[in-house]
Symmetry: C2
Subunit: 195 residues, 2 copies
DNA sequence: TGCTACATGTAAAATGTTACATGATTCG
DNA sequence: CGAATCATGTAACATTTTACATGTAGCA
């Protein structure tokens, strides 16, 4: 129940509604976790049944009431226990773009090339976003050992991940170039590149 | 049904049994896709019902019979169509180790430090494995535009991914160091580091 | 004799996504 | 006046993981 621990990790930093947790997944911790709201509401109910979180109801006029969740003492203990436990080494898996690269030889080289350039520009801009954020919080986050440092560390993962994605795109471009140039240079007087 | 396309991508390179596909997921294309055998058998049945793959039965004595699957013409067409279609940009998500780093401030700095070093050594050795493989196939794979190039490109993704993971671990070590040293230097005559 | 590899599958549980459903407020 | 945001949830569906189940062959 990793999602449960993700929620506990957020609630450890302060109480929140399901809706707020959802937004945190989409923004703050997007670098390493994603969850949709039905998932979150379901998991919150489960965590509550295990007494790892509790909630209080805030009655609102002219708006639906909200349930503000907080982590319990038991939840805090469980979170710490889980931190100590060894994590399974999950290899990088199920990346659709890499899967497409695997079969990209079925496309014309020029087509494959333009696809990879599109992908590069997307990841380059995500990388820029992380970079900006990193610069903004670096000083404060690394000035003391606490929650901000944790946020900073996970943000760094987003940064290095996107960096590696851009780097990969560049290597793919080079490799395609090399493969097509080499192939062409072996038959200099050709009519069509692929036949 | 991305798993379906992963299977079609493998079968495009040659026929295989469900068992062989499973092994390919675990070894050859482990850099970007993972699937368990119940998943593969189910997906093969589904692909067959859509006429994207077909199979022939090979009767074996003293062993269970095997079904050798191959991609159909329709499957090949569908694979090419899918390659052209734009992929959703999936951000890097649901990494348990990064999630733990997010809450690592709950552990003693020394404990967090030793955890990240363990993680680094694991990813360093995976990285080495990809690096060796890359060097072995680079020349052949980039000498012509074909299936080997595709394999090479996806392997490069595994390489850059693990590289970025190791780099991240190093940055985490540095950041923890900085945060604890800074905190300590603000109270030079201390009895305990954390109190 | 016990472990690994071969080879296939089912069943159940857990997890994740998409669509449906409600209703007020704020911004342009 | 329409779109986005706030705030909650359900229902149905799809996907993924784990455990169960079977049986042979080869190796140490």
């Amino acid at each position: 129940m990793s999602l449960g621990y993700a929620i506990l990790s957020l609630l450890e930093r302060g109480e929140a509604t399901g809706y707020e947790l959802m937004k945190q997944f989409d923004h703050t911790v997007a670098a390493f976790w994603h969850a949709t709201h039905p998932q979150i509401y379901r998991e919150l109910r489960q965590l509550e049944s295990q007494k790892l979180v509790s909630h209080r109801l805030v009655v609102q006029k002219h708006r639906p009431n909200k349930k503000i969740f907080r982590i319990t003492k038991a939840g805090n203990t469980e979170l710490k226990r889980w931190l100590e436990e060894p994590s399974p080494v999950a290899p990088q898996v199920n990346d659709v773009s890499t899967l497409k690269a695997f079969s990209s030889y079925l496309l014309e080289p020029q087509r494959a090339m333009s696809k990879i350039r599109e992908l590069k520009s997307i990841h380059r801009s995500i990388h820029e976003k992380w970079k900006t954020l990193e610069q903004q919080i670096r000083e404060v986050a690394t000035s003391k050992y606490g929650a901000d440092l944790g946020l900073y560390l996970s943000l760094l993962r987003g940064l290095t991940y996107e960096e590696s994605y851009v780097r990969w795109c560049e290597m793919v471009e080079e490799a395609i170039q090399r493969a097509t140039v080499k192939a062409a240079s072996r038959s200099p007087v050709r009519k069509r590149a692929t036949s």
